[in-house]
Amino acid sequence: MLAAGFAAVVTLVRAALLPRIISSWGYAERAEDLLVRHGRLVRRLSIVPYGRMQFVDVTAGPLERAFGLATVQLHTAAAASDARVPGLPPKEAARLRDRLAALGEARAEGL
């Protein structure tokens, strides 16, 4: 009962803050690296050089597909690297993927 109430409160607070949480996501394609920022409570910024990219994932779950969205994720050889850009329109996701792949190819450094 208590746990359920707590969960409900957390959900409500999250729902109220959702626009702010979502607006915290952002990415920038720079000349040499990709910047990804997100989080309100815990703020995170990742800098991933294109040359370090191992592969790019574009995923779209059923819910994402229903709303016409997709997620682009960049993987490096480091497991801790965290460069995920969710909530992109499929067209933008495909463009970003192609651009990242092209840049990664041009600057590939491996390990």
Binding site: I47, P49, T76, S81, L111
Partner: protein
């Protein structure tokens, strides 16, 4: 990456050594005995226990025999292929340009039978990807030589942007003139340089120091407790069964096994440098001989355990992608120096990371307000940037310096937790392809974050482009 396809006829598959199933079966049987445990021994009685063990051993031996029949390996182009499995067939192709480390392991039984196991580590594998157990010693040595030669030919200079990988042994003045060093370039196609490459010995550990250093580990403090507990039970319950004694022995072994294992594993630890990389040999009962090709060291950690400070001793380990070095019990995986004084550590670390001087490191301290978040560690925390590396310091009792060459940085992350935001602090994480040594500039002023990450990104870029 496009590899020039070699059109040589495919090599015939080779089998592992015929004694493999026997050795493996024995090993599994030993594990089974441990699994049955003392409790089981008590319940079953000696005869039935022995029968159970024999039955398990026979079944495992048969299974090992079947698996041996189905296992084979061969080199195809620049890949090592391993075929295994009878019901679930599996063929693994190991691209040798991704080879991170090769280890020749010889457990006691294998040594008696003249056998050896070859372990290959590749990127992206969570565990040892290709344990080839067992080969005859000659076959293992020849295969290792061959794989390293292929890796050397395939690996260097991705896309031709970096003339020499920074942070690597062959770029050193001491080894540059050796004939073997020339083979590191992509020119050496032709007959593979089989045979021993010239090796320069860098360090041989003093076994006495290793012994003393392992006595100076906190695990021994648990020993009196492990012995006292059954004595206490004896006086309170006035009966001491065989199981109680056996359990005590097991408990004692359990507490002290970490230092004893290090002692056995790092006995006669020798570090050498050759054209094919760092060479480490160690071990008293089970001997290991590891080769880490140039440019595979992602990070180096130097640790000052509290109990060793009286002797001025440190230990050093290296993070190689594919090797796991998460906890202390398994740190023997990436040991660079099991124990030694600071000048020794400085020499060895300088060997792996040329241009880095351990003794000249002075870290930027964290601001006073970081004490709110790290009351005990605030005086220790800090980072520094040298010409070639990023280094960060952490740890209260066991002080640790983690050193990452700029050329090995995979990505940079800034993380700011809520309390950090209140205090206008943030942490910068440096990600490498290794996974055992976290390099973090913790609790930095927000105002220094942007200059720091800009500088790091720039230096990492310059290092990648061989600048």
């Amino acid at each position: 990456m496009s590899q020039p396809q070699q059109t040589a006829p495919p090599e015939a598959r080779r089998r592992l050594h015929p004694l493999t199933p026997l050795l493996r079966g024995l090993r599994y049987a030993a594990i089974a005995v441990v699994a049955i445990s003392w409790q089981g021994y008590e319940e079953l009685g000696t005869v039935r226990w022995a029968m159970a063990v024999v039955l398990v051993a026979v079944v495992l031996l048969l299974a090992a025999l079947v698996s041996w029949r189905a296992t084979g390996y061969h080199v195809v182009g620049r890949e090592l292929r391993i075929h295994e499995g009878l019901l679930w067939r599996r063929t693994r192709a190991i691209p040798l340009e991704r080879l991170q480390s090769v280890e020749l392991v010889r457990p006691v039984l294998a040594r008696l039978l003249g056998l050896a196991e070859l372990r290959l580590e590749v990127v992206g594998a969570s565990k040892t990807e290709a344990p080839l157990a067992y080969l005859s010693l000659d076959a293992a040595l020849a295969l290792r030589e061959r794989l390293l030669a292929l890796a050397r030919r395939a690996a260097p200079v991705p896309t031709g942007t970096a003339p020499a990988q920074p942070g690597i042994a062959p770029a050193q003045p001491g080894t540059g003139t050796e004939p073997g060093a020339v083979a590191a370039g992509p020119v050496a196609i032709g007959p593979a340089p089989v045979g021993a490459l010239p090796e320069r010995r860098v360090h041989l550990i003093a076994n006495r120091d290793l012994f003393i250093s392992q006595l100076l580990r906190p695990q021994w403090w648990a020993l009196p407790l492990a012995i006292a507990a059954p004595i206490f039970f004896f006086f309170t319950e006035s009966s001491l069964s065989f199981v109680a004694i056996a359990s005590t022995v097991t408990a004692v072994i359990g507490t002290i096994q970490a230092p004893v294992r290090v002692l056995l594993a790092d006995w006669n630890f020798t570090l050498g440098v050759a054209a094919d990389g760092l060479r480490i040999r160690r071990g008293l009962l089970e001997t290991r001989s590891q080769t880490v090709p140039p440019g595979r060291v992602q990070a180096v950690g130097i640790e000052w355990p509290l109990l060793w400070r009286g002797h001025g001793w440190v230990r050093a380990r290296m993070d190689v992608a594919g090797l796991t070095a998460q906890d202390n019990n398994r740190m023997r995986e990436g040991t660079l120096l099991p124990v030694g004084d600071v000048p020794t550590a400085r020499r060895l670390v300088g060997e792996v990371l040329p241009g880095f001087d351990l003794t000249s490191v002075a870290v930027f301290p964290v601001p006073r307000r970081a004490r709110w978040l790290a009351p005990f560690r605030a005086g220790v925390l800090g980072y520094t940037l040298t010409d070639a590396v990023f280094a960060s310091r952490d740890g209260l009792l066991t002080r640790r310096l983690v050193v990452v060459p700029y050329g090995r940085i995979q990505s940079i992350r800034v993380v700011q937790r809520p309390l950090q935001r209140l205090l206008r602090l943030a942490s910068v994480h440096i990600d490498t392809a290794g996974n055992g040594l976290p390099a973090i500039a913790e609790h930095r002023r927000v105002s220094e974050i942007l200059p720091l990450i800009t500088e790091l990104a720039e230096r990492a870029r310059a290092a990648r482009h061989g600048g």
